[in-house]
Assembly symmetry: C2
Homo-oligomer: 328 residues x 2
């Protein structure tokens, strides 16, 4: 039976590699190509036998690809690629600039409508699974408050900020949910918490030779926007420790809805993730939604949508009857 | 604007009262009637001005009700009422006999198709939100294992079994997830666990005058099917304590997916509920899905479906654009 869903990847960084790996575990899908802006001849990919093409030839493959998974970044790549590629292919992307979602949705929707394609935007865990859980919480418990915590996770932006401090040779920064804040929220007391009260920041820093540790620490913890408003700890480590202990990309977090029903019944809904690899998990979500995008197009759907518009059952390779029997 | 969704309730027990209360918090819905098999004149309902009718007159109201929420039990009421009423109304129910779901679905689907109605079956938290989370876990992390824990919660069936033991004047039984089992699962080790290894049972018993406590305890902990295979504790309390401390109907539990991506990255997804009132929470889920049932019918859908077939966004009174802006 040659009816596997034909998937291609646009952009081969951590996320693209994660998609490639997730497709290995999807019995109903196959990777038919990788598109890159780099020199295709120099790109070493994990899968054997999968062709690599320059991204600017992607339009030649409109009939050979069922869903194109966009693995570029939200800052520079997707605002341009998203609309362009949604005019040609069914697409799935992980656009995660929350404030620009309405604008991005409109651009992608216009393109997908013009090309009669389905485009699923902002797929992953936040936006993505966390959004779904914020929605379930608010819809089921209208009287209540929603709390989103992030971490423990490596923050690329904050790690970069630490690396720019004079005297720093290398660094990583983890955002960590405050245990006290989580306990308060879980108890149902519904505290009012700013983001900085919900999270602490932990830096692991390698000093340059001769750098002054106290000056570096002071420069970090007082840095406006990034650290000044947070409870920040700075640990000094060796370059060897940085390489050995901080190479993974863990992340995670919680969405908690604390609500009231009836006269006075406390109800708590909580969704949490503990991710060994953030890009691999995001990629796994993208692959499941690529399946949904394919099916929705088969059913006649057209245009942009988000995870909030997609029924859970469309993510599974199983039939609706199997799902009712096995999982309901 | 007189465009509220007109809801009626069939069956006025704990669940029906919970629906009535949840509707108070739904700005876009109104309760237009309660149907009962009891004498309508003798039924005292919470809302003022809402008419109560005998259930056998429900067919007179097909044009006055947008969605009928079925609040009867899965054992005796729904197998009969579900198909009957789905032929006349859009319905939502909490059918929870897992093993009979395919059969029940088929009967309700045939009725809803014949009457051109939408019927959402098995709505609540298990089946319901837990089913959705089992599905997300398995679809996103195909390599892995799913664990469902229930409790801490009052089990009606087990409480009844304890009350039948000679010498028992009153009793409640709580099912409690085993903390050791939860920790094992959260650690990502993926243990193989039977239901009895995942849960412990806690009984609070009021003795009849002159009853032998040791004999009662022995009769409970050795009871086949109900307790013999579990780690069971029996506490003896007074009738006053039973009334004072055990009148609520708490419940909850967890669905945990422990999976692997890439070569060896551990990924954990967890959904949990801590419910002060089980029937009120289930009722709140029913009300959100009643909104979805109404919209689906407006969009032209017909037939039976489950929570797995319904996009999250349909549960919210907000528009898709508002949801993208506020929650995505």
């Amino acid at each position: 039976m040659n009816s596997k869903i034909r998937i291609a990847i646009a952009g081969y960084g951590n996320l693209g590699r994660g998609v490639e790996s997730a497709l290995d575990r999807a019995p109903d899908m196959e990777l038919v190509g990788v598109f890159t802006r780099r020199d295709p001849g120099k790109l070493i990919i994990q899968s054997t036998g999968v062709p690599v093409y320059p991204l600017d030839r992607v339009a030649e493959f409109v009939d050979a690809v069922d869903v194109l998974i966009l693995c570029g970044g939200s800052k520079a790549d997707l605002p341009e690629q998203g609309p362009q590629l949604a005019a040609l292919f069914n697409t799935v992307d992980s656009f995660d600039t929350h404030a620009k979602v309405p604008e991005y949705f409109a651009a992608v929707d216009a393109a997908a409508q013009s090309g009669q394609r389905v485009a699923v935007i902002s797929v992953g865990w936040d936006p993505g699974l966390f959004s779904i859980n914020r929605l379930y919480g608010e819809a089921i418990l209208p009287e209540g408050a929603t709390y989103t915590f992030w971490g423990k996770g490596l923050s690329q932006g904050h790690s970069d900020a630490v690396r720019r401090v004079p005297g720093v040779a290398g660094a990583v920064q983890y955002t960590i949910p405050s245990p006290e804040a989580i306990e308060k929220v879980r108890s149902g007391t519904r505290p009012v918490l700013e983001t900085r009260e919900k999270h602490v920041r932990e830096c692991h820093v390698v000093l340059e030779a001769g750098a002054d540790a106290n000056a570096v620490r002071e420069a970090i913890v007082t840095m406006p926007d990034y650290f000044a408003d947070y409870d920040t700890t700075v640990n000094f480590i060796t370059a060897q420790e940085l390489a050995r202990d901080h190479g993974a990309m863990p992340h995670g977090g919680f969405v908690i809805r604390s609500g009231t029903t009836g006269t006075d019944s406390a109800q708590i809904m909580e969704f949490g993730l503990k991710l060994g690899s953030n890009p691999e998990f995001t990629a796994s979500v993208l692959v499941a939604y690529a399946r949904a995008a394919y099916r929705l197009r088969q059913q006649g759907a057209v245009g942009a949508m988000s995870v909030l518009d997609i029924a859970p059952g469309l993510l599974s390779p199983k039939s609706a009857a199997e799902l009712r029997k096995e999982l309901l």
